[in-house]
Amino acid sequence: MDNPYQTQPAKIISITDEAPNIKRFELKLDKKLHFAPGQIIFLSIPGFGEAPFAPCNAPDSDFLELCVRRTGKFTSVLHTLKAGDGMGIRGPYGGGWPLQTKNEKLKTPATGGKNLLIVVGGLGLVPLRNLIWGKDEYFSSDAKVQIFYGAKNPDEFLFKKDFNKWKKQGIDLQLTIDKECPGWAECVGEVTILFDKNPIIKNASAFLCGPPVMYKFVLQKLAEKKFPEENIYMSLERRMHCGIGVCQHCAVGSFYTCKNGPVFRYDEIKNIPGAI
């Protein structure tokens, strides 16, 4: 019987500063880990425990990439590590974003949406980066992709180096920052303001990811624009220990954020107290 708690070794190849307190780690694993966009893996640092993260590497990358903010005990230890240091990895867990590859059907075919609206705040872009890079694998060549990305200030945007390449691919990338900042000529205001400044694409699925406080307001805007609830998907976050739907910490209603999530369809969770 396989041991679901066993990890495989991973070595840090490089560390890049993406934003203040946010580092991107490139990891090499003995056995390459295949995951679907939106799935999570568990990082293990013996002596300090484990925590779940969403890989953000481009599909053809040789390395597993994790983008981590220093925010508590485990991530503080992670931020002290150097290239060459080792960790453990297990996973992937969860269902990821509902996608259909051209070659085979994945978990759930995306309902309704031929096009894709991505609304992300702060670190929320992390579980979507892989999807954006691989969009031709999951969406038809004439599908439109629109991204609304809000951050506190211009330094906090992640993966800035990818933006021009995405724009060249025809992706409609709209950025906004919370407050006025010298040198920033684009939109100012929380991410919901982008709904007022830009027409949102029709016939689309909406994939949302961001801090809990963001969801309430974005869902209000989507309702105002009459976006069908069964086309809205969101990635939830909870404390996790086992990753396989047994220890109960990440339970939301009758679902487990690790096993049945972290991506949930809005109409399936909107009536669960405490879900959003």
Binding site: G47, R238, H241, C247, H249, A251, G253
Partner: protein, 361 residues
Amino acid sequence: MDQKEFSKFVLHLLADYRVYSPQEENNQIIIAKLVDSEKVALDKRLPFYPWKNFFVPDCETLFEYQGIMLEKPPAVSNPQNERRKKFLPPLAKGQTRKKIALLGINILDLRAILLYDLVFALDPYYQARQQNALVIGHGFEAELPDGSIRKFSQDDLEHLRFDIFLAEQPKERKQLLVFAGSEKGRRVLDEFGYRGYQNIEFAGHKYSKEWEEKMNLWRDKLKNHHNQKIWDELGKICLECGKCTIACPTCFCFRIDDTPSLDLRSREIDGKRQRCWDSCYYQEFSEVAGGPARHASQGDAGGHKFLNTTASKIHFWYFHKFGRIPDEYNMMGCVGCHRCHTVCPVDINIQKVMEEIENSQ
């Protein structure tokens, strides 16, 4: 099987197994290691604590680690293991050098085993523990703390998982009926030399029609007719002490933590990764890092709790038992033992709470 033969059977078990059985102490039934075979108390009273620890240990070592490598701890009874021979550490809780026999588990606690079997079906630690354990049930009567008696019959046995089951004959109470529920049970009885047992084939869990309807009704109320007032009222009196989660046979939440080794002699392990009981009432159960510090003493280490009111915590506990577990396994996460009510310092009565939910709009 008469009393004399039963005493011989207990001695037979003691020779090969570490036997745990209900025993009477200070007018209470407790579960303890059996040393004196005469002390076995096959009583209709439930033991104060459930048998949970033998199936879901309060703390178990998943791995020992060195650097980043995790290794399953060597089986203590394995004589080949050089490391164990060298250090022979004291037995950790739950570990044993002999096989275990659990003698005299009442039917309510046997019901909990059905749930453990489902939850931990793919858990190698649980499965190894079960191979090492002999489950002997007892009794067609279970006395609850309030004095009421739950009655069962032979018909209930095929929906319970056990190796051997003993029950007092209805007319001749000194005689025990003996049932074998597995190959292991048959083998043990045959080796002892008792052939008069009846075979029971486990047919899976099944409720009576009445209880199936109850489960569906309660589930529907919780999922589709959420009544915040009930939880707010309970939230005012519940102390979040978590005693119910310790006393409850079907509470199995656990956390996984790393503990550095303090053993200076051992250069071979840096520490252990352990799985220990947790409780959804405890403060950090739903806590994640990040979020603003709410108190100066927290410094940078503020955390966000998803279950941040007593009402939400107690709702989570009830919803797990009567909402989520039924959705997952088509059975309730409650065996009806009333231990939670018995230990609750503020007298929250699970039966009354479910009645209130059942009658709520």
